[in-house]
């Protein structure tokens, strides 16, 4: 275990998140079970309502901690870089333990899992928050069951993420065989790409076509978002919204390939170094662009979630207004991110 300021902070957040996640799961199960009962005495009803309010408060607390823990993971990994002489950036840290026989062989897998679980937890917590926000404006609590299920899912995701992060922090990382990659000592001139499938996507298209395809496809997505935003009522019953989400998901690998293969080497002025992790310490403005892009994709996902989960006779108008608002935010985030990417690469 490497003990530094970020490890202590991460450990503290892990403990707090773990407690909050267990409480959220427990209370969500309690409220779900009590809701199955047909008859309520006034005392039981008050108790159930109080539990739900406590659950909502805890979920908000867990949401905040989940948001904090996401960038904190990368700060932690960055703080580990100087601990190995052959490691140059976060990518090298993510490969520590690969090929070793001890417990540290799980470290690369844990990092990959954490990098997927954290955004998933934030996304699900966002869905919960939107449903809760809509329900608060109604009289009959029409979304209660769905809110509780989403809260339960959020709690399970957050608990899994917390447990894995705790295990990652505790597993010893010293004196382990070091995997060789783009940012580790046995670098070879053939293996300069940290993510092979991004490299093959880039090689398949070529740098110019990759840039062209990236901008065309993304501006197509922005145009589609704009159309939905201004004519949302016309598309209310069409499957277009789902197609938009599918588009946002399918565009993500292309964007990752563009960022790793074109943008990062240009911005860092390292033409043979294709590593997104290097942007964190050296080009934080580019990281902001990536955050905006992820937020744009998240907003499309949340708008779809609202459409799937929040449309009931009583909440129809509220859901529609939230959906429009999310599409607006998503559109602005996408445009801002694309403008930032274009400027960053052009000015590099």
């Amino acid at each position: 275990m490497i003990l530094n300021a970020y490890a202590v902070l991460s450990g503290f957040v892990v403990v707090l998140r773990g407690i909050a996640a267990v409480l959220v799961i427990g209370l969500a199960c309690c409220v779900l079970r009590s809701r199955r009962r047909v008859e309520f005495s006034p005392t039981e009803r008050t108790e159930s309502e109080n539990r739900f309010y406590l659950l909502s408060l805890l979920s908000t607390w867990l949401l905040g901690l989940s948001l904090i823990s996401w960038p904190l993971l990368y700060l932690l990994l960055q703080s580990y870089v100087p601990h190995w002489p052959g490691v140059m950036c976060i990518y090298g840290v993510t490969q520590i333990g690969a090929g070793s026989r001890g417990y540290s062989r799980f470290l690369p897998g844990l990092i990959v899992a954490l990098q997927f679980l954290k955004p998933a937890a934030v996304f699900v917590s966002g869905v919960w928050w939107l449903l809760y926000r809509i329900q608060r404006q109604t009289q009959t609590e029409p979304l209660m069951g769905r809110i509780l299920l989403v809260q339960l899912g959020f709690g399970v995701l957050a608990l899994t993420d917390t447990l894995l992060e705790g295990v990652y922090l505790v597993i010893p990382k010293r004196e382990e065989f070091l995997f060789t990659g783009c940012c580790t000592s046995d670098i070879s001139y053939q293996s300069d790409r940290s993510i092979s499938w991004l490299a093959s996507l880039s090689d398949g298209l070529g740098p110019k076509w990759l840039s062209f395809t990236f901008y065309v496809v993304n501006f197509g997505l922005v145009f589609a978002l704009w159309c939905f935003r201004i004519r949302s009522r016309q598309f209310e019953k069409s499957p277009g919204m789902n197609l938009l989400l599918l588009g946002a998901v399918l565009v993500a690998p292309l964007t990752a390939a563009y960022l790793a293969e074109i943008a990062a080497p240009a911005v860092l002025r390292l033409p043979y170094h294709h590593c997104l992790y290097d942007l964190i310490p050296r080009a934080i403005d580019m990281v902001l662009g990536i955050v905006l892009y992820v937020m744009g994709a998240g907003c499309v996902g949340w708008a779809c979630a609202v459409r799937w989960l929040a449309v009931r006779p009583e909440t129809k108008d509220l859901a529609r207004s939230d959906q429009d608002w999310l599409l607006s935010v998503g559109l602005n985030c996408y445009v801002a991110a694309l403008v930032m990417f274009f400027l960053e690469v052009s000015l590099a």
């Binding site: 002489p85 001139y189 002025r269 403005d285 662009g289 403008v339 930032m340």
Partner: protein
Amino acid sequence: MNSQRSRWIVRAIGLLVVVGLPILGAWLRRQSEQGCALDGVRIDPVFAVRIIDVHGIEARFCCLQCAVWWVQRRGEAPRQVFVTDETSGRWLDAADANFVRSGVITNATTGNRVHIFQRRSDAERHASDSRGTILTGSARPFENITHRDRAN
């Protein structure tokens, strides 16, 4: 009226951030000290290598190994290669340098063990102190380039 005004203010701030940050970031990165052209790490002047490519553009490297990899990736022979004498810290043409492969690593990231000296006596002393070998013939880095330079 007030809400419309505040909306415009928010939009203006957003635009300023979206356009201003990349400009500021690019400017700051240009001002900052240029790192190794291969992996971006800080360059220790004692081990620095300078390459001038066929277009006359200069690239600096943190160690000899980075420079060798960079040339291999470019696939075209550079016009000139300058290396640093570890004893004096002075630049010298790679053709005139004495290269010693020893157990002492100059850069942990690349694992470079090749040391560079202008004087033969310094190279021999380092080789005997750290059980190294003076590189000769095709074992010398940039040998093809330095031969061509001599021929020219």
